[in-house]
Symmetry: C2
Subunit: 402 residues, 2 copies
């Protein structure tokens, strides 16, 4: 039987929804006054002010100190508001095959403390890996920071269901483990946690990086040895029925020696082909990139095939998902800027009808992408107040005395 309780609302929920909307508006819109906020939210100025004073009391919002450039407009100028970066802290960690990457973001989603530690993920038991990740993440936190920590997010290259049970993680050698439970137990009590597939986390992070673009459909590719992907719709991850949506790596590609995209544009194929024609020493991705940049014919040929196959897969994706933005991530995506024209050419050729092609951009968050994305998911959850922490806090504050 379906549960409709999420649709119903009571006064408490009304307040919660409005507080959440206020936080999101300030996060997205930067600095605005109480009156601006009231207009954006469709509330009365008094309600807006009421909500803001609660948020200031909670230490989540503050008035901008420096006087803004006079807006040269009649009327009393509003006091601009902004989020307090230290108002909350979210930890994002990625357990990769070779490293553990940990970072923290604040309430404004700015990254504050990145650390990358070598770690052999191929032969580590789950519990050990998670313990290590937690240790690394908490290591740098000064006393007092932990209390403000509103979440711990873990990204791993594993296929897992919605509740955080890993079905299989070939790269890490995990199988049928309840990663969510293990993570919960490894953490100090009271810290909300979250586990997510690394490609999905990366996708959220890339969509989150540009605040203004949270609306719309973003398709994110992560191109390494394999090709992962994720779809973000209006800021929310689209998982599909089995959590496999966006797994573009297994799309069929014709005209290639191999059947799947993963094999046609992945790192392995590039290096295999490059091995015979490398200009200097070992065949590495960096070497290939350099050769393409220098327009060495053999390398350019490899890059152009890569572009053709990528373009084909992207067109297929456009026809099914119709994103308005495609983000290319992973180390191999470094090839894209040099062949972006080829990719666009092939896509236009394949798109018989003259429909607008989506914007294609390179990733913004480099290697920390997945960890950043995991932290962003917590941040997002916090701003929508799905956590009970703030709610309880706000109720606890004696608010009537004001």
């Amino acid at each position: 039987m379906s549960d409709f309780s999420s649709l119903s609302s009571s006064p408490r929920r009304v307040r919660q929804a409005n507080v959440a909307a206020a936080l999101q508006a300030i996060f997205a819109g930067g600095q605005l006054s109480r009156a601006d906020l009231a207009r954006q939210l469709g509330l009365n100025r008094s309600s807006s002010g009421n909500i803001i004073s609660e948020l200031i009391g909670n230490g989540l919002v503050r008035e901008v100190a420096e006087d803004a450039p006079k807006p040269t407009r009649a009327g009393r100028p509003g006091i601009l508001l902004e989020l307090v970066p230290e108002g909350a802290c979210f930890i994002g960690v990625e357990i990769g095959v070779e490293h553990i990457t940990a970072l923290r973001i604040g309430l404004t989603a700015e990254v504050s403390d990145v650390r990358v530690v070598p770690f052999d993920g191929r032969h580590a038991p789950v519990a050990e890996a998670v313990d290590r990740a937690v240790a690394i993440a908490l290591e740098g936190a000064a006393s007092g920071e932990i209390e403000r920590c509103e979440g711990f997010g873990l990204a791993t290259p594993a296929q897992m269901d919605r509740r955080g049970r890993v079905r299989i993680a070939p790269l890490l050698g995990w199988r049928d483990v309840d990663l969510a439970a293990i993570t919960r137990e490894a953490l100090p009590a009271g810290i909300p946690s979250l586990v997510e597939n690394d490609a999905n986390a990366f996708a959220i992070g890339e969509a989150y990086a540009s605040r203004g673009r949270q609306r719309g459909v973003t398709l994110v590719l992560v191109i390494e040895s394999g090709v992962g992907g994720g779809i973000v719709i209006d800021g929310q991850l689209f998982r599909g029925g089995n959590g496999l949506a966006g797994e573009i790596g297994h799309i069929h590609v014709p005209d290639a020696d191999c059947a799947e995209l993963e094999e046609a544009i992945g790192l392995e194929l590039l290096l295999n082909r490059y091995r015979g024609v490398a200009t200097a020493g070992d065949a590495t991705l960096a070497g290939l990139l350099a050769d393409v940049r220098d327009r060495a014919p053999a390398a350019v040929a490899i890059a152009e095939d890569w572009a053709r196959h990528l373009a084909f897969a992207l067109v297929q994706a456009c026809r099914l998902v119709d994103p308005d933005r495609i983000v290319l991530g992973g180390s191999v995506a470094g090839l894209y800027p040099m062949v972006s024209a080829r990719v666009a050419f092939h896509m236009e050729t394949l798109q018989a009808d003259s429909f607008p092609l989506p914007e294609i951009v390179l990733h913004e968050a480099a290697e920390t992408g997945a960890a950043y994305g995991a932290a962003c998911m917590l941040h997002q959850r916090f701003l929508s107040l799905e956590n009970d922490l703030l709610a309880g806090d706000a109720m606890g504050k004696d608010w009537g005395s004001l």
Copy 2:
């Protein structure tokens, strides 16, 4: 600048949300009592009763007359509630290439009056076609029914944007017309209207037909001359960035004489191939279906190729969209039941990993699908009270006297 007003809420909106949740719960859950409703919505029994008495006053809900089979449980039995079928009426119309199909559904989404009228859509100006559609739809409505009409939905084979502007409709010969505006003007004042692509409407209708399954991801294919498609996520149409999501017809298919799915499994190819080997007279789809059923070798070969190409495209779609349910519609889908085993076989072969394949079912709503879907979209909108009609009504009623 984004608009966050939809997130904020006032007491009025609280009521609206709760009334909407109540309607949806009764629609989905069939018959339940005030107390059941209160539990499902997480409200107090008194609030639930309050809402119900408003809805009864509005004529949207009533108490079930016949005594239900005694539930043999201690305690006072609850009075079961149900929607009043005549409480509201929604009209759905499809302007096709050869027919105009009109029907009405009531508050319980049951179809009440279907009429199919021959109409040559290929050479009809927009305004004329819409006028004709409105006339056909309103023709059968008895006086008094029109007042209860809460919406008019129009489905056409046209590519249009979110606001109902048709970009191009090759089959109907339309181009750059504001179909939404034309429809609004053709209707009596005060009736909310809606225009939608026929495949999209069909998709919504198929997802709506099974009430329990409104959650989840459904991929709908409409296979005729061309192949259209739509994706429904949790009961909502997923349009993508440009309203082209789910357009599976242009997916690439290998091993076929032609590059696109539309040409590989569409009606044209089937009839072309069948023309040489037809057992009886003209090559028609009905004839092909009969021959396949009789296991005529040539026809079976055609059907098996069809199954292989369909399976390939569906696997591609699964990898990107990962639906948990696929609905096959259109006349050509009649071929599916005879080759469902082949389709499943090919899909399992192509799915290297042993991930669960989605359930594949035949359409339920036959030819009336698109018109039904358009009506369902209005029904859905009505139940979520996005229309102002009921809200105004409810406010108008003097409620304090109760």
